[in-house]
């Protein structure tokens, strides 16, 4: 049913694209590089897709290259193929596919269209010529967000509304917990799974359950602001995710955020100069792809800033031993740092998290 709906949406989007391309062809001139973005959901959601669109606009401003996007294109459907083929036919030379599930389809297009650069977000596949992937070390600002939460809680209980128990989410929960424990050794982080990326009702309901369980600070790994609404209604503190939610949520303190603009601009410039080399690019705060604003009202603001500077300078790693798992086993030995492979496959909670990774 949603599929039919999305087919229609994609059809309309494609027609719109066609119209836009026809209308825009007159004033197109100068550089022949054009960048297109494929998004999995509408860009108006203040979450994942919203930030990709912000990145697109920033990259357009920085490079002067014309960009376009299509939204609400489902993963694993014919709509993706239609949209990407349309972009290629219209002369777009750089295509960003911004959802994990686009990975295989993007690979297929990359191999069939060697003259077009394909950059896939949040996946792991690539080739040697025109297909790379990009992601951000969100766990770094998550750690700093955890510090703000650890200092803000009076009940020593922080609630974490989380979507699915996959490594990306578990990594964020662990980093957040380690940050909270850094400033408050007694703190516990209770996790409740929603089994959905986006369902404001369930998210809000889950947030309320965590508040009832004694949490006075909430954060989330979801795509809506419902957790923030629940925190506001209960007079609790809210740490957001994805974007600055201060204008939507009264209880907002700060948030680890995405900032794709510079990375997009780099890829577009490299493609325009014929210097694009595919890589598995996993950028951190030093690269600007992830960030967090230090809330001046926090009692640990200066320590947060210091940690941020250390991470950016490469002097501190979030997953530096000794770190124990929930069950007391050693996750990272004393003096060691976790490698990227282990981080990308993280499947255990650290000590201090309440909840199960079974979902």
């Amino acid at each position: 049913m949603t599929r039919t709906l999305r087919t229609l949406t994609a059809l309309i989007a494609t027609l719109g694209l066609l119209a836009a391309a026809c209308g825009g062809s007159d004033d197109a001139g100068g550089s022949d590089t054009k960048a297109a973005f494929v998004m999995v959901a509408p860009v108006g959601d203040a979450g994942w897709n919203f930030m990709h669109n912000e990145g697109r606009l920033a990259a357009e401003a920085a490079t002067g290259v014309e960009t376009a996007f299509v939204e609400a294109i489902p993963e694993g459907g014919a709509e993706f193929d239609t949209a990407v083929q349309q972009f290629i036919d219209d002369g777009y030379t750089v295509i960003f596919s911004t959802s994990f599930g686009y990975m295989d389809a993007t690979e297929k297009f990359a191999n069939e269209n060697p003259d077009v650069v394909f950059e896939h977000i949040s996946g792991f596949k690539m080739n040697d010529t025109n297909f790379g992937n990009t992601f951000g070390r969100m766990y770094q600002p998550r750690y700093i967000a955890g510090m703000a939460a650890g200092a803000a809680t009076e009940t020593n209980k922080i609630g974490y509304v989380a979507a699915f128990p996959i490594p990306e989410v578990i990594r964020g929960i662990n980093a957040f917990t380690l940050g909270a424990q850094r400033v408050n050794p007694d703190v516990e982080v209770e996790v409740a799974w929603t089994a959905t990326w986006f369902d404001p009702t369930v998210e809000g309901n889950t947030a309320q359950a965590l508040l009832d369980a004694g949490a006075d600070v909430l954060t989330m790994h979801q795509d809506s602001t419902a957790t923030g609404q629940a925190a506001t209604d209960a007079g609790a503190t809210f740490i957001g995710y994805h974007s600055d939610m201060s204008s939507q949520v009264d209880a907002y303190l700060t948030a680890p955020v995405w900032d794709w603009g510079d990375r997009y601009a780099d890829v577009i410039n490299a493609a325009a100069n014929g210097e694009y080399t595919p890589e598995s690019w996993w950028g951190g705060m030093a690269d600007g792809v992830v960030d967090i604003e230090i809330p001046t009202s926090s009692p640990v603001a200066s320590e947060m800033q210091a940690v941020k500077d250390q991470i950016i300078a490469g002097e501190f790693d979030v997953f530096e031993g000794e770190i124990l798992t929930q069950s007391g086993d050693v996750m990272v030995a004393d003096g060691e740092k976790m490698d990227d492979g282990s981080m990308l496959g993280m499947s255990d909670f650290v000590a201090g998290v309440i909840g199960s990774t079974d979902g």
Binding site: L5, F198, D199, T201, L211, D358
Partner: protein, 310 residues
């Protein structure tokens, strides 16, 4: 698990249950008149976006509710036109209504996604009753729309079982030809029943966006309209039993995220399946029973009525 968490759960059980009940009552009325309307999900979505828009625009949840009812009602008239007046297939028309309604709501609401909370339906001024332990927050502190849902349920039972209007409506749903012979306008009765169903689905959408999700976004209904359709079957087309089912299904919706905070490690995905599992179970029981005694479903449900076709 302590008193706060249990009270929190019960508050959600009642709120979710009565939101489902509004939508299910509407569907029950339409089905009692012999019209299956699978468009509940779409009508709820349209009602939800209409309530969010008008509630914010005019700063009043009452206006939000009225506009949501009008929006849901107008949408249901498409189904009434296709499936009742023109005698089209009720299943196809209803499904189309859901797809169309979800798309229309997503389009109309694209500028309201993730906007801050809007005016909500407040509690009734019940004074000290609201301060009572457990029963205060769980019952007396519920929004007036929740109470309104209960009143509508009682009203629906009374009209269906105790008035000639209800008798006529049930007759149309059991045997349209007989009702027609007796001088009832089958088409008029069915159009009105479908319209009332649409209004109530719109109300449920308003309840959802203003009080439960506290905001509009595409996909906010998330299948809850389908739960309402299942609920009517579960409740054996009776307002009272449907109310019990609504609290049960609402309880499952509310329990889903809370089980984990109680330390019970059952996947929320599994819990979200339970309303449908229960409905299938009840359908099996009904099917076995109907071998021995008449089916509990309205006999003419799903069948278009054309006067010359007997």
């Amino acid at each position: 698990m302590n008193e706060v968490t249990v009270v929190g759960l019960l508050v959600d059980v009642v709120a979710f249950g009565l939101m489902l009940y509004l939508a299910a009552l509407g569907e029950l009325i339409a089905e009692k008149a012999g019209v299956l309307n699978l468009g509940v999900e779409g009508m709820m979505a349209v009602g939800g976006v209409a309530a969010f828009w008008s509630g914010t625009e005019f700063g009043s949840p009452v206006i939000g509710l009225i506009i949501a009812g009008i929006a849901g009602g107008l949408l249901s008239l498409i189904h009434a036109l296709v499936a009742v007046v023109l005698g089209g297939d009720q299943v196809v028309s209803g499904l189309a209504l859901t797809i169309f309604g979800l798309g229309l709501a997503a389009f109309a609401g694209k500028d309201y996604v993730s906007l801050p909370a809007v005016p909500q339906f407040g509690a009734l001024p019940l004074g000290p009753l609201r301060e009572l332990r457990i029963i205060g927050p769980v019952v007396f502190n519920q929004s007036w729309l929740a109470w309104f849902a209960v009143v509508l349920g009682l009203g629906t039972w009374f009209v269906l079982e105790r008035t000639s209007i209800g008798l006529g409506l049930r007759a149309v749903g059991e045997s349209a030809a007989t009702a027609d012979t007796a001088g009832r306008s089958v088409v008029r009765t069915r159009v009105i029943a479908v319209g009332v169903g649409g209004i109530l689905a719109g109300f449920a959408g308003a309840y959802l966006t203003l009080n439960l999700a506290k905001g509009w976004s595409e996909g906010v209904t998330a299948g809850r309209g389908w739960i309402a359709v299942a609920l009517v079957i579960f409740g054996a087309w009776r307002p009272g039993r449907t109310a019990v089912g609504a609290l049960l299904f609402g309880g499952l919706l509310a329990l889903e995220p809370r089980l984990q905070t109680f330390g019970v490690n059952i996947s929320p995905i599994l819990v979200s399946m339970l309303p449908y599992v229960l409905t299938i179970g009840v359908l099996i029981i009904f099917s076995i029973q109907s071998r021995r005694r008449p089916s509990v479903a309205p006999a003419a449900i799903g069948r278009a009525y054309r006067r010359e076709e007997r």
